[in-house]
């Protein structure tokens, strides 16, 4: 009942009740006190009268004493004292007179007579007439006794009246006290009860409110708010409930904001699309209070949505989702991208769904009843879809719709970022490859320039050496012929002469031999510097390979009869005619094949395993606008430091006299500078060496510098 009243009303009622009781009690007590006070006044007046009567009696006694004393002592002091006592007695009698004038008048009468006789008696004593004085004093004594008796009776009556008045006052006070105690006890009990009820009606809800407020302060938005009654505490409870709801919404909004921020941060910082999408779908499910969510990719080719990732979805559902893409425009889910805004299915059982039956069956079987789908859009381009499903039916709130839309936007952003990133990476790779090619081309140019310079130098040196060398060769040959003629001329020379001729002949033979060797070197140098003299023409590369193999093999066998090697050919017959200088390319092949023979033979000769078989493998392959030739031997191989110097002129690993160091250098010039191709080498020590040549079908790859050198 208290809770239905406002606290102010309760307090007013409580105070009013207390005041009413207080006023009633006070009025009663005031009345009783008034009556009592009147009784007390009466009693006091009576007591005062008694006192006055007693005082009058005392004064009368004093007066008689002093009169008697006066009669004896004749002292005027006694007379004055008697007069003073007489005056006091008169005063007391004056005060007593209103009580009973008649009786006081009687006293006065007796007093006057006493005084008269006494004064006469004193005078007689003063005049030394003692007998008369005694007689008069005896008469005075009679009146004295009468006055005494009157005063005593007055005192007695006044005492009786005072006692009666006092008893009345006491009885009234006792009654008032009893009634007052009863009323006070009742008031205290009722007041305590009312106070308890009022306090209880205030304190208990306040305590519950305090607990609720403490809970809210501690961040517990799930705390129970006490029921809102019609009073002020009810108003506080309603306000607190609103505050709690607002706080809850704020926290949820904040959480959503934080989630969106986290997703946004992830989108901005994480290029792992799976991570971002997993986070998005998890947050979307969490903040939409749903049970599961999925993200779909959109295949622009098939115009289908394909399952990508999920959160909270059962394996069975995932399996169905993977197996059953959703076609664009077939139902509410896939219609969302068309509309460009989220679409809802408020009851999976109550709406005509356009998705595949398996999808819906799976959702229904797993207890899902409603869903919301939002498209992942990049402008108007569809990137995918975000779907959130839940067990409850009904519309998703506008906040959740907005949130899902925001998550979808973030997802789209992530997908777009991922695609942009992928594109960026691809471009980066291309750039890096181009950069590498550029660096290689730059190195090739530097190398070509160096080679060109060397070639010019070599040509100059060779030209200058050629003539003296011709003199050496010619005159050594001529001298040897002259010695032969000298021997023939001498006929039968002596031993000493014959020995000298023989020695000289041998010397000249060696001079001629080394001269020829030197001439070969010079010739090669001139040939190198000249850069080839043949003309380009459409040639059959496979035929050139076969020809060069045969020449090289037989050349090697010519030098060393024990030489043997397995020749493996893998020639691409699809290679058509190619525009090259056949003589120069043949030289390249001869160089490569000769080096391969040498390396394989060396490995065999250097104690390879018994089962080792020297093999030279040659492959050709059609590459469209170019042709690839691979020459691989299973020889000793080359360490990296050798590889870096491989194409430098005059660099050789062969013993002196067995190589000029110009073979690969010339080959490099022919392939790279003359034909615009490439030459690469791969080798492992003790295992193999493989040269990979690429020859363009035309002159497109020929650089200006190379062309210039070639010219």
């Amino acid at each position: 009942m208290m809770a239905r009243l406002a606290i102010r009303t309760r307090l007013i009622l409580l105070t009013s009740a207390g005041l009413i009781v207080l006023i009633a009690t006070n009025s009663y007590l005031t009345h009783e006190l008034g009556a009592n006070s009147a009784g007390m006044v009466t009693a006091a007046e009576l007591l005062k009268s008694i006192e006055e009567a007693n005082s009058a009696q005392i004064a009368f006694g004093e007066m008689r004493y002093w009169m008697t004393d006066l009669a004896v002592s004749q002292l005027l002091l006694s007379e004055r004292n008697a007069a003073a006592a007489r005056a006091r007695m008169e005063q007391h009698l004056d005060k007593l007179a209103p009580w009973n004038p008649a009786r006081i008048a009687a006293v006065r009468s007796e007093l006057a007579q006493y005084e008269d006789f006494a004064e006469k008696a004193v005078d007689e004593y003063t005049n030394d007439r003692r007998v008369i004085g005694n007689s008069l004093l005896a008469q005075a004594r009679q009146h004295s006794l009468a006055a005494d008796q009157l005063l005593a009776s007055i005192v007695s009556d006044l005492t009786d009246q005072a006692i009666a008045a006092r008893q009345k006052v006491v009885a009234g006070a006792a009654m008032a006290t009893r009634i007052s105690r009863i009323v006070v006890t009742a008031a205290v009990l009722i007041g305590a009860l009312l106070t308890y009820l009022v306090l209880r009606s205030i304190v208990l809800p306040l305590r519950r409110l305090t607990v609720a407020m403490d809970g809210l302060n501690a961040g517990n938005v799930a705390v129970a708010i006490p029921g809102a009654g019609p009073d002020e505490i009810g108003a506080m409870a309603r306000t607190l409930a609103i505050f709690r709801d607002t706080l809850k919404e704020l926290r949820e909004t904040l959480a959503q904001f934080e989630a969106l921020r986290a997703v946004g941060r992830a989108v901005g910082s994480t290029l792992d699309l799976e991570t971002v999408l997993s986070m998005v779908v998890a947050r979307a499910v969490e903040f939409s209070h749903a049970q599961a969510g999925m993200i779909y990719d959109y295949d622009e080719v098939t115009r289908e949505f394909r399952f990508r990732t999920s959160y909270g979805a059962e394996d069975e559902l995932i399996e169905h989702l993977r197996a059953e893409p959703i076609r664009l425009g077939s139902g509410p889910i896939s219609s969302a991208p068309v509309m460009g805004s989220p679409a809802q299915v408020r009851d999976l059982f109550g709406e005509n769904q356009g998705a595949g039956p398996t999808f819906w069956d799976s959702l229904a079987r797993l207890g899902y009843r409603s869903l919301i789908a939002a498209p992942l859009l990049d402008d108007e381009r569809i990137l995918g879809g975000l779907v959130v499903v839940r067990h409850a039916t009904g519309d998703f709130s506008q906040e959740i719709v907005s949130l899902i839309e925001a998550f979808a936007t973030q997802s789209a952003l992530a997908v777009r970022n991922a695609k942009l990133f992928e594109e960026q990476r691809r471009r980066e790779r291309d750039l890096r490859a181009a950069h590498e090619e550029l660096k290689a081309a730059q190195a090739s140019l530097i190398h070509a320039e160096k080679m060109a310079s060397l070639g010019q130098l070599t040509a100059g040196i060779a030209h200058e050496i050629k003539n003296p060398l011709n003199f050496v060769n010619n005159f050594s040959e001529l001298s040897r012929e002259l010695l032969q003629e000298l021997e023939e001329t001498l006929g039968s020379p002596g031993d000493e002469q014959s020995e000298l001729i023989t020695t000289l002949t041998n010397n000249l033979t060696k001079i001629a031999e080394h001269g020829r060797r030197a001439d070969g070197i010079v010739t090669s140098m001139l040939l190198h510097s000249r850069g080839g003299s043949g003309e380009r023409r459409q040639s059959n590369l496979n035929a050139l390979v076969e020809e060069a193999l045969n020449l090289a093999f037989h050349g090697a066998r010519a030098k060393d009869r024990s030489f043997n090697i397995t020749l493996e050919r893998d020639l691409d017959t699809s290679i058509g005619p190619i525009d090259i200088v056949p003589q120069d390319i043949t030289r390249v092949f001869l160089n490569l094949f000769g080096n391969g023979f040498y390396a394989a033979s060396k490995r065999q000769s250097e104690g390879a395993e018994p089962t080792f078989q020297p093999i030279l493998n040659v492959k050709t392959r059609e590459l469209g606008d170019k042709v690839e030739i691979r020459v691989r031997d299973n020889g000793v191989g080359m360490p990296p430091e050798v590889l870096t110097k491989l194409f430098q002129p005059f660099f050789t690993t062969k013993p002196t006299g067995e190589g000029t160091g110009l073979g690969l250098s010339i080959s490099y010039d022919i392939v790279v500078q003359q034909h615009g191709g490439t030459i690469a080498v791969d080798s492992r020590v003790g295992q193999f060496t493989e040269f990979i040549l690429e020859l363009p079908r035309g002159l497109r790859g020929l650089t200006t510098a190379a062309a210039g050198v070639a010219a």
Partner: protein, 265 residues
């Protein structure tokens, strides 16, 4: 007239011989105008008789005053302070004061007759109170000069047989015994004359007036407080004196009493 002069000269001689015993009344005599005394023979005689009676009374009272220690000695029974002793000492004082032996005054003269009555009264009062005076074990016996004076005056009235009366009275507020109350004439003289600041100190007042229906010559002899008086009548006022009576607060030389002498004709 010659008697008066004899009395006055004897009084003055006594005054000069016995200064310690001077009573304030005696001071007045020296300054009493001679002219006043000699204006009329009868008046002068009356005044001389009155003065003589007053002197005798005062002398006897002086003796009683001087013997207070003896009277109030509780250890001593018979003090041998009889009427005769007191009278002899009083006569001695009287003679010293006046130069006249009162016993030699003609007993047939009015003065001699009345003075003898006074001396007889002194003797009777002292003798009548021998029991009191000789009481052993009681210190203060109340037989003080004032009581003595009053008793002598009363006794004198009896012995004078209506020819003269002596009363020791005082201003009304100082009277202790109702017998000493001043009558109307006395009260008027005290108030108008004796208490008048202009009244010469110690000067008696006399007049021929009617008293109790009889022609009489009345004299009022002022008495002033001396130091011994103030033990009972001095300060502080209201404090009880030895007799149990409140002190009047009197000061030295204040008018303390008056001896009223009435000589009937």
């Amino acid at each position: 007239m010659s008697g008066i002069y004899r009395w006055i000269s004897g009084w003055a001689a006594g005054l000069l011989r016995n200064q310690p015993r001077v009573f304030f009344v005696l001071l007045v005599a020296g300054v009493m105008p001679i002219a006043t005394l000699g204006t009329e023979n009868s008046t002068d005689d009356d005044r001389a008789i009155a003065q003589s009676l007053a002197e005798m009374l005062q002398d006897a009272r002086t003796i009683i005053s001087n013997e207070q220690d003896l009277i109030n000695d509780p250890q001593l029974g018979d003090k041998h302070l009889t009427g005769e002793v007191v009278l002899d000492r009083a006569i001695e004082l009287y003679s010293r004061a006046t130069g006249v032996d009162p016993r030699k005054i003609d007993p047939k003269s009015r003065e001699g007759r009345l003075l003898r009555a006074m001396m007889e009264a002194i003797v009777q009062v002292v003798d009548g109170n021998q029991g009191t005076i000789n009481t052993k074990g009681t210190a203060f016996k109340g037989f003080i000069p004032a009581v003595f004076g009053r008793l002598v005056a009363e006794e004198f009235g009896q012995l004078a047989k209506g020819e003269a009366e002596v009363k020791v009275t005082a201003p009304p507020e100082l009277v202790r015994n109702r017998k000493a109350r001043p009558d109307k004439w006395e009260a008027e003289i005290i108030a108008a004359k004796l208490l008048d600041p202009a009244w010469p100190t110690g000067q008696p007042y006399s007049a021929r007036v009617e008293s109790n229906g009889r022609p009489a010559f009345r004299v009022m002899v002022p008495e002033y407080y001396v130091q011994s008086c103030l033990a009972c009548h001095g300060s502080p006022k209201g404090e009880m004196d030895i007799t149990g009576y409140p002190k009047e607060g009197g000061k030295l030389n204040d008018l303390g009493a008056a001896i009223s002498i009435t000589l009937y004709h």
